[in-house]
Symmetry: C2
Subunit: 476 residues, 2 copies
């Protein structure tokens, strides 16, 4: 983001006025658009409010902007011609379309982490940067020779990456598949987007866990789906709940995260898995198995997957590198019956024409690197260590005030607050004290739950984060 | 794709039966799904039909598949349990959703280029692989140190890439913009997808050129848009046509490709650009300027862009590396007023969470490489050379039978056939003779036009391709 140069001879206000004039003349701030308030712009540019006031006065004097009672300062409509022009009413355009904006809590969290990059972040669902395999990626890019075709790739994804996944999935997750049943995506988000957009129609009923990560995704609402809930117990959902939902609402798809479920951390028990698959097959309802975390299993041997038990092609399996390597690689995969894969491949080609060969090649090299296993081992140790630090901090400072069950894998600790709280107020008080996390209601739970990620904050910050939360709780 | 091993001791038919059994047991071919016909599978696997018949008999004997009168062979529904199971009716799912499948001609072309990789390809809109900057990409990956954050990137795109684009666009296209007005996408396809999905609503009227690349994109129909046409003359569309369309249909957006228009190769004249911008501003209709080709200008100095003339923020500008470097990089950009950029950034995050940092980093390094300019110079020379060879071949073998005007840039030659032809038959006769191209009707033109790409075929193949077409034309 542009900032004025303090070392420059040109006064700050003049630099700001010039910058705004440039943006107006480039059409970035079209005639009629509202400029930020003086206070807000001063904050963004880290200058005094009086400097911004002076800059706006300068622009007003040149006729480029005008004051409007009640709505601040806007770009003049008349500057560029004699008659007023009818530039597009961008607000009308940006409010159209089928995408819903993100939930208010999520937008607030994003805004806070953007404007305060040093806040202790227990909200993000990613690893901290010291857990990424930076060195491995850096050295493989330099040591391996990139020699792949730079043209349009197979829209199903780079063949060698799919081949490597066939081995990785068999070895680590007990899943037997073939290259032709795999679609490479940019991550779980795109896999879910393709499924909700291409296999379901507006008005279709789907069932998700309660609470569930899916609940926080506006894409489910954007796709016009009717969402029904399967309450999560200590050992996962009760599969028999599906029968009742199916009879009443003709559920067309199940979205489940059986291993270290997000946000609760629970693992679906083996007996429930068997029952679930039987019911899904009997009723003919496909299961989307979102499985981002199974390789984080602290003990090293991950829980089984539904896909490994699926002989009927009823499970659409979704995985990615985001939670086990790095989210910025943007590599995920989906395993599904071939008719589904072809349909989604065709649709995906209409959306983005597939992924860059460079990132797919790097992912393939990473999966085949000798060091990748060592990375996974280190990752599990670090995650367990960070979880333990968080658990100890909670036991020390929040004893009896929250209830939780520490999972054997995954990135999150799900806590119930043992008192009545106002979720919004608690979040704001925590932010004020330097901590951000996700209130449970974002995942569709009742008030009074929070999801703390122990993966994203740095080890040294975890205790202070929990203390900040304890202090915030004291004010409520 | 799997093929039986001829060197193996196991008979071919047994290898095929085992492979199919594995795919059935993995759930890839779920109960009830139809196997390929014997003839088709024999072709795919490059074996005799009798071998496939034997393999199917083997599977039938084991009860794994069954014959169904009139629909061939299908996976048994009863193999995995005593009672018939209700596996999902995948057909119902894959026919749902809002994505329309690709146009039949386009699917046929894709199928042909997949199954006959050596066919002379004048259909594809990409460069031939010898025109890609392979060496530059290979050496920059090895010589530069990748040191970027591997976490979620700014959803608007890698900041340094946007910064580089600010300079590149100013230097090459006369566009003045700032980092905050740029959104990095995976290419023009994703830019158009975001615009049609997020800024327009089903039922909205839009105008496109006639003929137009956009017409070939099912995404326009998938988004429920009503499409109206602006006929393209030698110097582009007639801007005054917009006024009439606007009065009658309340056109909400214009999609134009003013430089070396796809498919016609025409350049919108300067006087028409001025008139177009005036009309668009007067009526308040945004213009989407798709500009993939301007840097291919054979003379080296590209025609101006609408965006460079746009002081009202009425132009949404779309560009990419696909036609000037390599399509497999999957890097594109959009320049728009900030309110539009924020809306599209938010929606895009819901779809795919942004692009890989690795491919964005590589693109940034490429744009800043000293060798990139040399690459562009070479590219222009090669394109011009290939176009000349095509023009000479046409003059030699099709004299008087087709009419065309060779453009000064771009990848395509648009030809009118001077006789009445059946587009489908002509395409099939050409395919039979080893050439594939795109019939003009794919772009919404009347019958009797073809688009020949001179970029994709290798130089040595261009004459034979045109001869194959001439022979095909003789049979019609």
């Amino acid at each position: 983001m542009w900032k004025p140069e303090r070392a420059s001879k040109k006064p700050l206000y003049q630099q700001i006025a010039d910058h705004l004039e440039r943006r107006i003349s480039y059409g970035e701030l079209p005639p009629g658009s509202i400029l930020p308030s003086e206070r807000k712009l001063a904050e963004q540019l880290e200058v005094n409010r009086s400097t911004v006031i002076q800059a706006y006065e300068e622009l007003r004097a040149s006729g480029l902007v005008e004051s409007v009672v009640g709505s601040g300062t806007r770009v003049s409509r008349t500057k560029w011609g004699i008659a007023p022009k009818h530039t597009p009413n961008w607000r009308q355009y940006t409010e159209g379309g089928t995408f819903l904006p993100n939930l208010p809590f999520m937008r607030r969290i994003r805004e806070v982490t953007r404007s305060h990059p040093n806040i202790i972040n227990m909200a993000s669902g990613e690893l901290s940067s010291d857990m990424f395999p930076n060195d491995i990626v850096q050295s493989l890019l330099q040591e391996q020779t990139f020699n792949e075709h730079l043209g349009y790739d197979d829209p199903q994804g780079y063949y060698r990456l799919r081949s490597s996944l066939v081995s990785v999935l068999e070895r680590n997750n007990g899943i037997q598949t073939t290259e032709s049943s795999i679609l490479i995506t940019s991550g779980s988000q795109q896999s879910l987007y393709l499924i909700t957009q291409c296999l379901l129609s507006p008005g279709d009923a789907v069932a998700i866990e309660d609470p569930s990560y899916c609940y926080s995704l506006p894409m489910f609402q954007s796709a016009g789906l009717r969402i029904f809930r399967l309450p999560v117990q200590q050992d996962g959902i009760d599969p028999d709940d599906i029968i009742k939902l199916f009879r009443e609402h003709r559920i067309r798809m199940l979205f489940l995260n059986p291993n270290y479920q997000n946000p609760t951390g629970t693992v679906l028990s083996q007996s429930k898995r068997i029952r679930l698959l039987k019911i899904a097959v009997d009723l003919g309802i496909p299961i989307v198995e979102d499985d981002p975390f199974s390789l984080t299993a602290f003990e090293g041997s991950p829980p089984t997957t539904l896909k490994a038990m699926d002989t009927d092609g009823i499970v659409l399996y979704i995985g990615s590198l985001s939670k086990i390597a790095a989210s910025g690689l943007r590599i995920g995969w989906m395993i599904a019956p071939q008719s589904v894969i072809s349909r989604l491949t065709d649709a995906r080609q209409q959306m983005d024409f597939g992924l860059s060969i460079i990132s797919q090649w790097a992912a393939e090299r990473l999966l085949n690197s000798d060091q990748f296993h060592r990375h996974l081992d280190q990752l599990r140790v670090s995650l367990y260590h960070k979880q333990q630090i968080m658990v100890q901090a909670i036991n020390r400072t929040l004893q009896g005030r929250v209830t939780f069950h520490a999972p054997d894998g995954g990135l999150n600790l799900w806590c119930k607050i043992n008192q009545v709280v106002d979720d919004g107020k608690l979040l704001e008080e925590s932010i004020r004290r330097g901590l951000v996390y996700v209130p449970g209601s974002v995942y569709g739970s009742e008030p009074g739950f929070v999801r703390f990620s122990y993966a994203k904050p740095y080890t040294a910050d975890i205790s202070s984060g929990i203390s900040a939360f304890a202090e915030a709780l004291n004010t409520i």
